[in-house]
Structure formats: C-alpha cells, structure tokens
C-alpha cells in the first residue's frame, strides 16, 4: 500500500498529465453535448462581454463600410417597395429574398460581436440572447443572404454555427427548377460552398440562383444563398459537383437578423404526434 502511494507521489506529474489530456479529449469528442452547455462557449456572459466591449471600440474603424452597406440595403428595400406599390403589373403573390412579408416569421436585429472565417468550424457570436427572444435553432440572415443558425443562447448573447462550419449545412434548392439538396462547406475558401445531391438530368447554368428550400423550420423558403460559380459531372458518380459563390461576404458582416418561426411549435407538435402515432402502431 505504501509503495503504491510512493509510486503515485513520484509520478504525480505524469498522472496529472494523463488526467488533463483525457479530460481534453472527452471535451473534443463530445463537442455537441458541451457546445450546448452555455458557459463553455463564447455565448458565456463574461466571454461575450469581452468580445462585445472590444467590438464596440473596433467598430468605429468600420463605420464607413457599415454605412455603405446600410445605404445599399436601403436602396434595395426602397426599389422593392416601389415595385410592389407600382400598381397592376405585380399582384399579390410576390415575395422574394430575405424580406418576405410573411407574418409567420419575426425578425430580431442583432450585431455580430465575434466571427471567424479561417477555421474548419466557424462560429458567430451575436449580442442578442434569451432576453430578446433568441432561441436555439433559429436562422441567422444578413441582407445579402443566409448566415447561419443559432446553437446556444445565454441571457443576452447568442452563439451560432455560420455556414462556414462543416458540422452544419442548410437545405438549399435551385431557384429555377426547384431541385433541392444539402449545402456543404469543405473548409477551404470562405467564399464558396458546395451544393450536393443534384442529379445529372437537371439543367442548370453558371449564375443560377441558389436559395433556401424551406423544408426545415429554421429558414423560410427562398432566402438567398448564392449563385452557381461552376459545375461539373464527375465520372462514376450520379450527382453534380456544384460550386456556389456565397452571397454573404463573411468577412464583413456587422448586422444580422435572427428569424423567429412562429409556427415552429405547432410544426414540432405535429411531427411528434405523427412519430408517436407511428411508434404506437
């Protein structure tokens, strides 16, 4: 017994080393579970407030660019408003892009306080949280297009996957033909993603628009994702290899909107009902 204690005492450094490394690996392998733990990521109140205060200083240097992008957004909205108000040409059913007048969706404006593009798994931290109604699994969009999805929230901050995260991809479709597939990011270039699972018989052209499919409750249908940059038919496969240039410039996003789907609860209840019904039979 005594020799055991002496052994432990003599090798305490090695044992501590093993313990800490195993603990780290447990964290690495259970990223999903711990990502949801709110105090171990950058939506943590203390961590996020560090980012927030740093960001509130740095943002002064970006004011020119911010103003320009806000002015562009204004112009875009104005022209759309004119279009819908200009009379008989366009009637009721026009709703394109981010700003649909769908009452089932509510938009919460937020400022990006931390964001990265150079990792394999990129995250985005926002300055709105539970207090402002932000919940996990809400979509994040900018005026140019899709940005990401909220994964965890604290009292007044939120953390989300950005599209540039290989652990998550939105469901997308070709706007023209309606064929849909998942979006994937391979970790290389922050401007490009890939659209998967589009079969060879679908016709497409460079420059075609890719939008969200609306098949999940995260995003409404028709939010801009990007345009086709190039596509090819790899030999021995049955799906296209499509490069999509993202509409959102992830290096300059300052303000975003979080989308609250008011029907989500109902949809979920309905889905659960069907699932439970199926398992009962």
């Amino acid at each position: 017994m005594r020799s055991l204690f002496r052994y432990l005492l003599n090798n305490h450094a090695f044992l501590l080393f093993l313990l800490l490394e195993v603990l780290s690996l447990v964290f690495v392998f259970n990223y999903n579970k711990y990502q949801r733990v709110k105090y171990l990521n950058s939506s943590n109140r203390i961590i996020a407030s560090v980012y927030n205060s740093f960001n509130s200083v740095v943002q002064y240097f970006e004011l020119t660019r911010m103003n320009r992008s806000l002015a562009e957004e204004n112009a875009k909205l104005k022209s759309r408003f004119q279009m819908t108000n200009s009379g008989e040409i366009i009637t009721d059913s026009v709703s394109i892009g981010t700003f649909q007048t769908n009452p089932n969706y509510r938009y919460i404006s937020a400022r990006v306080i931390n964001n990265s593009v150079n990792k394999k798994y990129n995250y985005i931290t926002l300055n709105k949280g539970r207090k402002q109604g932000v919940k996990p699994d809400m979509g994040i969009v900018s005026h140019n297009g899709i940005v990401g999805v909220v994964t965890s929230v604290s009292e007044s901050y939120a953390l989300g996957f950005s599209v540039l995260n290989s652990r998550w991809g939105p469901s997308a479709k070709l706007k023209k033909s309606g064929f849909y597939g998942p979006i994937e990011w391979n970790g290389d270039d922050y401007q490009f993603v890939k659209l998967m699972e589009i079969p060879f018989h679908v016709k497409m052209a460079v420059g075609d628009t890719i939008v969200t499919s609306g098949y999940s409750s995260v995003f409404p249908e028709g939010i801009m994702i990007g345009v086709i940059q190039s596509f090819s038919q790899p030999e021995g496969e049955s799906f296209y290899d499509i490069n999509v240039k993202l509409a959102t410039d992830f290096k300059s996003i300052y303000f975003v909107e979080v989308i609250d789907n008011m029907d989500k609860e109902q949809l979920k209840q309905l889905e659960d009902l069907i699932k439970n019904g199926a398992s009962n039979n």
């Binding site: 305490h12 450094a13 090695f14 501590l16 080393f17 800490l20 490394e21 603990l23 780290s24 690996l25 447990v26 964290f27 690495v28 392998f29 990223y31 711990y34 990502q35 171990l40 990521n41 950058s42 943590n44 961590i47 560090v50 980012y51 740093f54 990265s116 593009v117 150079n118 990792k119 394999k120 798994y121 995250y123 953390l159 290389d188 270039d189 922050y190």
Partner: protein, 167 residues
C-alpha cells in the same frame, strides 16, 4: 514573490486577450493562424512544481478554447507541451552552465532562447493543428500550415520579448 505572481497573472490575461481578439482573426491566404499564448507556459520559472505548470497550462488552454469555441483542442496541445517542457530544456541545455530560473530572452543567450521557443512552438502547433482537423488525410497540407504558422508565431514571440517582456 507577490510581484512575480501579479506579473504572471497579467501575462496570462494579456496573452489570452491578444490571442483571441487579434491573432485569431489574422489570416493570410487561409493558412497562417499564429498562436502565441503558449509563450506563457514557456516563460514560467524553471523551478516551479510540475503540477503547477500542468494545471496552469490546462487553465490557459481551456480559456482560449472557450473564447474560440473549440473545447478541448487548445487545452490538449498546451498540456502536452507543458509536460514536455522539462525534457526540452534538458535536451537543449547540454552544458552544465548557470541557468537563470527565468527562461526569457534577456536572461539567456538568444540562441538558447530561440531554440527553446522553436521546439516548444513547433510541438504545440503540430499537436494543435492535427487535433483540430482530426485526420491525417491531408497530411502535408496540414504540415505546411503547421510550419507557416509556427514561423509566424515564433516571429511574434521574439518581437514581443523586445517590446513587452524586457526587464
């Protein structure tokens, strides 16, 4: 003693802030991510107990992890390099000369310091980058990233020795 402790606390906070607020956003062609916070582990007094070094390394790693949403990756690499530190020092200090307890640039000759920092940073970056991508499939691409980033990190660390940690 108290002054030393305060100095190390300030160094810890300073390095973490510089890392997460500035260097995490540095990006040249998507390859170079300098990680200089490991300097804290390098500069701990050589006489400090090993369990203290290991625990501080874990605390440092997990702090950077929480800031950059990569739980476990940085703490693994930092604890790893902290455990190897005594061996690294033994290997590069071949002669029994009077070694200062503080392994900074001023207290040692620059060749010793550069060798020490280079080995520590390269080990740290290698472990970190391979654990981050978690595959050996793009082995050489990752290796390229390791070396580019390591060179940049070493450069920043040496510069910082002239500007900040002068005493």
């Amino acid at each position: 003693m108290v002054r030393q402790t305060i100095k190390y606390i300030l160094m810890f906070v300073g390095l973490v802030l510089v890392q997460v607020l500035i260097l995490n956003h540095v990006q040249f062609s998507g390859f170079v991510n300098p990680y200089i916070y490991v300097l804290f582990v390098c500069l701990l007094p050589l006489s400090s107990p090993r369990y203290v070094v290991l625990l501080l390394a874990f605390l440092l790693g997990i702090t950077v992890d929480i800031f950059s949403n990569s739980l476990g990756v940085h703490s693994f690499a930092t604890v790893f390099v902290a455990y190897l530190r005594p061996f690294v020092i033994r290997v590069i200090s071949n002669r029994e000369e009077d070694r200062s307890d503080y392994p900074g640039l001023k207290q040692n000759n620059w060749r010793w310091f550069l060798g020490y920092i280079t080995i520590m940073v390269v080990i740290h970056h290698t472990v970190l980058f391979y654990l981050e991508v978690f595959t050996f499939s793009n082995f050489f691409e990752t290796l390229y990233r390791v070396f580019l980033s390591a060179i940049f990190s070493i450069f920043v660390i040496v510069i910082s020795q002239f500007i900040v940690f002068r005493e």
